[in-house]
Symmetry: D2
Subunit: 324 residues, 4 copies
């Protein structure tokens, strides 16, 4: 997607007109009209081997938080775990075995450490009530994609397991301070930090998973209210730059990737989501725990994550690991 095209699109919206879709038909996936896997298509044996080559010490770092009812949860969503019975079973057999279940109700793919899939976010191109004009990844409409009991297109179960090169960009370290809510990460910030890490933008290759460490994530379970009140993140410019890198995934230690509030474009909702996820097939991994990795100054590693294949889900919970 070119900047011009995006600008034209925004202009069209701001002018109250619709983007001309007749000719170009959305932002088509380079992987084909039926593609639902996005940039997980970069997950090839060669990529796996390149990531494997980064495993030298055998250290595994868990990048996800635990899930529980006290974690920061977006207003209106729930996370409720109950143990029925305690124990759930009566004694069974002459050896008197007992067992427990866990009964969970949650917006399971959209709370805690979670990865946004391609059914999560779209744009309404026409009347807000018309599902044939609500468009998601690869031009799929809400009408084509949605049922009340799960998505029939773009569900997370269509994604390939992610086993790839991971790159941590420690913005907090590189810039010398924890990034604040509303801080818009720029391309310059990224390049500067890469240089500080002894790397350059050329080290980023198609299919890599890129993690941005801002330090904001240290508020998790320390000051949940502040954590949820805003966040640093890339704005439109950095998102466009990241999209050009053809990443499989962008992950952050914040709750929604996008800078919040977005002072430079207060009217535009989540531009990084739209650019990365919707138009460029790049998954978003939110609420990651990146400080351990940053403090170890580990900037390259194997990034391993298999989305929980709940059929028709919009996102996936789960803890990715960095292995180096």
């Amino acid at each position: 997607m070119s900047i011009l095209r995006f600008t034209g699109y925004l202009a069209a919206i701001l002018l109250g007109t619709q983007p001309a879709m007749a000719d170009e038909k959305w932002w088509p996936s380079p992987w084909g009209a039926d593609d639902e896997a996005g940039n997980t298509n970069y997950m090839t044996p060669a990529k796996t081997l390149a990531a494997t080559a980064l495993i030298k010490q055998g250290v595994v770092v868990k990048l996800g938080h635990d899930y529980h009812a006290e974690m920061p949860i977006p207003v209106g969503r729930v996370f409720a775990l109950r143990i029925p019975g305690a124990p759930t079973s009566k004694p069974l057999g002459s050896n008197r075995v007992i067992y427990n279940d866990e009964f969970l109700t949650a917006e399971i793919g959209q709370v805690g450490t979670q990865m946004d899939g391609f059914g999560h976010m779209g744009l309404t191109l026409g009347d807000e009530a018309d599902r044939t004009k609500m468009t998601f990844y690869n031009g799929v409409t809400a009408q084509q994609m949605m049922t009340p009991r799960g998505l029939i297109k773009n569900g997370v179960e269509k994604l390939k397991p992610i086993f790839t090169r991971g790159i941590l960009i420690d913005l907090e370290g590189g810039l010398g301070h924890t990034l604040a809510a509303g801080y818009e990460v720029t391309v310059d910030d990224i390049n500067k930090t890469l240089a500080w890490q002894g790397m350059s933008a050329d080290d980023i290759q198609p299919g890599d998973a890129l993690l941005l460490h801002t330090g904001w994530g240290r508020l998790w379970m320390v000051d949940n209210q502040k954590y949820a009140s805003g966040e640093p993140g890339p704005g439109q410019a950095a998102a466009t730059w990241l999209a050009g890198k053809k990443l499989v995934l962008v992950g952050m230690d914040n709750w929604s990737i996008d800078v919040m509030p977005n002072k430079n474009a207060p009217d535009i909702a989540v531009p990084a989501h739209i650019t990365l996820l919707l138009k460029n097939g790049i998954l978003l991994h939110e609420n990651l725990k990146l400080s351990d990795l940053a403090s170890r100054q580990q900037y390259q590693f194997a990034y391993i994550f298999t989305p929980l294949p709940i059929r028709g889900a919009t996102g996936s919970p789960g803890s990715p690991i960095a292995v180096y």
Copy 2:
């Protein structure tokens, strides 16, 4: 755990007396009195590197099934996914962004492809109503472990990410037939199959993940009723042998590891669970999809799985991967 000890324990139960716990205090974890991670403690950098060394072609195989309401679900449990609103949000911003959530209610760690954790199964050593006598991994009692809103001991979030050597034992291939429900896998079957694969029991090392392919798993979504009606699996003898191998995990293409029905010990409930999970800290991975791996004759690989760290859960959903 010695066979003698187990036999004595069962004898005590069958005779209506209690096992003498005063002296030996349950089957203590070799990892210490506070251990809640069991054999995931074998997950060391050396182990990670040994597993990494098996990655030669860069092929990733997903070993889990998708989750949905039509999969085989144990009677009494539920799996219900709903997409609120469709889309869940109204158009946001001048770019009119929309998004969807998924709202799930399920016995999330005990349906579909799932790994039993240490809070799942225990033994009632005293009166069935007394929680101080219901005992789980490492001697933790229900009274110490359970709350209505999650376990405070032995929850799956205490487990370490699993990145280890995986070994597939293709019993169906080695024995020349799909194993039937009620077929008790013997130590001899395992040894015979290992030989058929060009391997031996000595190839199995502490911390390995061992997968038993029976062929039973091909019934998944083909004949769910038959699938759920029974299963082949190890009985007491094979479970004891497997326990001696100090595995991190035993996985199968059936729904409960244990042979069902268990003709040789009809009164004993799930002896393999008790031996492996409860007494020896070995996790159980159920409802795996192993036929792809078997048909590729890939018997050694990296086995990678990070339990979904839901605080206080008894098990974990998720798709492990084999990488070779």
Copy 3:
């Protein structure tokens, strides 16, 4: 609503054209453009007193079934109750109090004995994807009515408590046989049965609750599969006749009021629902237990039911009572 109008509407649909809504704007509520209470507006003090006058013996009959996971549940819906902890609390205070909760997940207003509210059923007048053309009671569109977390128009909490004259029409008794699945109840059947009961259609007054006993309900928990396989019920003609009576509610001992299968109009979905609920503001009470009342030959009574006021729900569970 006249038959002519309905016929014209259907003809329009069958011919692939849209009904002309420009002039007549749906079937407007006689209670005003903002009405969301439908015929519960007939619940006046005078009506309450008329119903009270029927209470002569002081007998209360429960007309609803108990709710549990084994009851007939429409495919795809769930009813799952769990008792967390058992007990849910630890001992509290020096008197060591304990308590239990119940944790329920269910399509709560649409399982078991339940009353359909005005947000439950509508007609798609335009493109199936366009919410501005999906129209519900009193011309409210899906776009105006729906949010992912509850209806903001036509929710059951807008209904007035029902305390009214109830009339049982014991079709099984009057016609001399249990009505079978697919049996279309006719106006003649109703009149004949009323005569058999010593009553006439003139006894039915605006605001009355009318219960049709077919005997089909005796299959509940006796042969759930047969119960759910079909049902007797009014077709279009009887529904139109019932609508003309300006009832507050029609209740039956079946699961969906409408005759299933509907041999005389196999292409038309649930015509009685549409006529009664959607166009005429008459609530529908399903899965009632009417045989007790019928066997007592109690044909007139106070019918008392307060919809469970879950804000934005489409229906209500709960057990109505007949008092005589």
Copy 4:
């Protein structure tokens, strides 16, 4: 139950010993050893007729609040409603019918306006881990009563529909001020208020439903935080007096009947619950909306409520009505 007996019981607990249960075996129900209906057994035809005689004007007043996620909810419980799909169905039939469901997850009998049933609250008479010593209404133990998927004794479905005389005691009016949190309602307060209403304690008859209006309920949805922070209510003395009246139900415009905090007996958990519900079979109706009734100065009326018969539930949601 005599005061002496209760005092002896408390003394026993405070002294660290157990009450002597051998001889008297709990507080047995006067309705028999198998009774699970408690004082709903007072619901007889005569009682129905006595209540009916109070219906003179035909006015119906709803005494319950609407249910929604923003209402005051006890910490740790949830109320989550979702509308799947919106609409839930695709267009059906040539008339293109659509419908919606509501999917609810909630501690359904213990949130919002709710009635505590006999499985809700008990006392632990022995070791806190021993279910055979956790005792509920009519001496039923947790071991006898509980399963992970519902109670098999003392569930709310065992209660009879309540159609009885209701009496409102407008304490706020009688005492001349809104009662504050921690205000302990005394027997003298009740008698004084009854006199102010032109009534006396002799007007209260067995099987009556007694409602105490404190004014505290006006905080509902006005200042939820304050509402939940405490409440006025009867202490031990008033509860004992109320128990002596053999009521079917005590209802209040607070969230837990009992005075909170209970300055006079800070160590004793919910004494009014124990006295009324557990020992005397009197149901508790919480979070009622009583100010309308109080402002109309309607002190006698028919009180009508049918518990939602969810099998094995500990409480019931639902809106009772006062009819006068």
